[in-house]
């Protein structure tokens, strides 16, 4: 058994996407967890004598219009950006898996009902409807997370439903039914573990897309409130003087890109490993 795990381990590391994805994601998560402890300044401390300082030894990423240190804001912002996208992803997966399993496993009217809801929700352009709801309601982080998940679970539900239905036709499921296992046990021990690989891949890809949407929202001034800032907020402040004070937008933009690329690499890599092992 240990040999098997070892094999899988080395296959994970020998895949380039997985390797770099893991390193990038690991560093980004490390930055979000312990980064704020090393922030040189208070991220909300205004210093009007030092506004719009270009990057220097004193302020490595420069300062913004209120003289706040951008490196500190970036490090603190990583918690908000990643926190929102990770929890929105978690919620999305939860809703998507539960509803997808219900629809795929029990079929019948429940399946039809749930899938029509999915069709209706997929009919809306996602970003606009999220903008609308976050815009007209009191925009808090929790609200943003709920709305993000509320309009993203449909693809996951569809995937899980389709995969569940294909597992239902396998011989091992019929054999398990012939053993008289109940629905709960069949779902927990037979269907969910067989969805594992697919879910792992889509989680990583979902985190990347959540981060993009969250950044778009805060770029438009929704979601996180001043003086706190996510990376999207920092990016939008750079929009005021992009040629003069380029550093305001640059570092936040780089952080977003690197994180999105990291999660996408990891998701792609996991997908490659699985399709290799299938053939």
């Amino acid at each position: 058994m240990t040999r098997l795990q070892g094999m899988r381990h080395s296959r994970f590391w020998s895949n380039r996407n997985c390797r770099y994805g893991t390193i990038i994601v690991g560093l980004i998560l490390l930055m979000a967890i312990i980064g704020p402890l090393f922030a040189p300044y208070d991220p909300t401390q205004q210093n009007l004598e030092q506004i719009l300082q270009p990057p220097s030894l004193k302020h490595i990423c420069g300062t913004d219009f209120y003289g706040r240190d951008l490196l500190s804001r970036l490090l603190h912002g990583s918690r908000i950006s990643l926190g929102v996208s990770l929890s929105a992803t978690f919620l999305t997966m939860l809703i998507g898996i539960v509803l997808g399993l219900l629809a795929g496993y029990f079929r019948g009217w429940l399946d039809k009902f749930l899938m029509r809801i999915v069709d209706i929700l997929l009919g809306f352009p996602r970003l606009f409807i999220i903008l609308l709801i976050v815009g007209i309601s009191r925009s808090t982080l929790l609200m943003t997370i709920v709305v993000l998940a509320g309009f993203s679970w449909m693809e996951i539900a569809r995937l899980v439903r389709a995969e569940t239905r294909s597992i239902l036709t396998t011989n091992y499921l019929m054999a398990a039914q012939a053993l008289g296992l109940n629905h709960f046990r069949l779902i927990i021990a037979y269907i969910l573990p067989n969805l594992r690989g697919m879910l792992l891949t889509s989680t990583n890809l979902l985190i990347a897309s959540m981060l993009t949407i969250e950044s778009s929202l805060s770029f438009l001034g929704l979601g996180v409130n001043e003086p706190n800032a996510s990376w999207g907020t920092l990016l939008s402040q750079g929009r005021l003087d992009p040629t003069g004070a380029w550093w305001v937008a640059l570092f936040a933009g780089i952080a977003i890109i690197i994180t999105v690329v990291g999660f996408n690499l990891l998701g792609d890599g996991l997908n490659q490993i699985q399709s290799e092992s299938r053939t």
Binding site: L4, N171, M174, A175, Q177, L179, R185, P193
Partner: protein, 326 residues
């Protein structure tokens, strides 16, 4: 003491489609007495595997199963399995009836170790704790002739050889200490030594575990020696059903005769010309006897008339207008 464990009366399986329905199995009648072995033979596509799934109500909803499947367990009231709810039949699937499907490897969950699967099944069926189930599982692996139960326990299905997978699947089928074991073509993927071993194992289990066996097979020679009754399926109809011994020595139905003589010719190393037309064509092309297009002794009377069933004095059931040497 022997008693009828399973009685199947007028079982019929239809495939329901929106525009039409097709009958896949019809007029299946047989009786399986306790501790006996009933063999079902016939060519591919004849409905043998379908019969096993129908017995356990494992067919998807667009298959309509009618008729009675009566199960009695000695001193218990007879129960018609076909008219039980999903919840009620689960009791029988867990404790009374085990099943070993064709291609045992595909019947194992690829992401759980063999031991975990067996432990779950045992814990579920016998309502014991996981720790007890673990012990029982190790014993079961030993019972089915796996040499290192502890090692097998941690093995994943893809690491097993065909013969081992077969035994693991058999252990799973025995998880609930069933009285009745349904086996679907157990020997088709094995060579003749492994085949012999497997049949010996089944014979051994029948004695030690008080098992009654319902077996779909192609292995005529071995089965004729150990089976009590043989049911011959052709295109969904049990054309002949009777004592194994008599049936093997002196088949009444031309199809059974053809099946056995073909087999014997092959055993001698001679080649056999393929019978034409194919099963699927012949079954649908006539509204008379479905075997008529292939029958060596066919007569004009066979074509428009579906043969009615005959009960011979020795208990043989037969669907033929002109049986051989009755």
């Amino acid at each position: 003491m022997s008693f009828p464990l399973l009685q199947v009366i007028n079982l019929k399986v239809e495939l329901i489609r929106p525009e039409s329905s097709k009958s896949l199995l019809q007029e299946v009648n047989f009786e399986l007495r306790s501790q006996e072995l009933l063999a079902v033979i016939g060519e591919s596509g004849g409905g043998k595997s379908l019969l096993i799934k129908a017995l356990l109500k494992l067919l998807p909803p667009h298959f309509k199963v009618s008729g009675q499947i009566i199960y009695t367990d000695g001193n218990e009231q007879p129960v018609d399995l076909n008219h039980l709810s999903e919840k009620e039949i689960n009791v029988y699937r867990r404790r009374k009836i085990g099943v070993l499907f064709q291609e045992p490897l595909s019947g194992l969950n690829p992401v759980l170790s063999c031991g975990t699967q067996l432990r779950d099944a045992v814990a579920f069926a016998r309502e014991v704790s996981f720790a007890e189930a673990h012990e029982i599982a190790l014993n079961l692996f030993a019972t089915v002739g796996l040499l290192e139960p502890a090692a097998i326990y941690c093995t994943y299905p893809h690491q097993l050889s065909g013969g081992m997978a077969q035994r693991v699947a058999l252990a799973l089928a025995l998880a609930g200490q069933p009285r009745l074991l349904l086996i679907d073509e157990p020997t088709s993927a094995l060579d003749c030594i492994a085949r012999r071993e497997f049949m010996d194992l089944i014979q051994n289990l029948r004695q030690t575990q008080d098992l009654t066996v319902f077996m779909v097979t192609h292995d005529f020679a071995n089965i004729a020696q150990i089976a009590a009754k043989i049911l011959v399926l052709y295109a969904g109809l049990p054309v002949e059903y009777g004592d194994a011994d008599r049936l093997w020595r002196q088949p009444h139905h031309p199809y059974t005769h053809l099946l056995f003589t073909t087999y014997q010719t092959l055993q001698k190393g001679e080649t056999v010309a393929p019978s034409s037309p194919k099963l699927s064509d012949s079954a649908s092309s006539s509204n008379g006897c479905s075997f008529a297009p292939r029958c060596p002794v066919v007569q004009d009377h066979c074509y428009p008339n579906f043969p009615s069933y005959q009960l011979l004095p020795d208990g043989t059931r037969l669907y033929c207008h002109f049986p051989l040497s009755p």
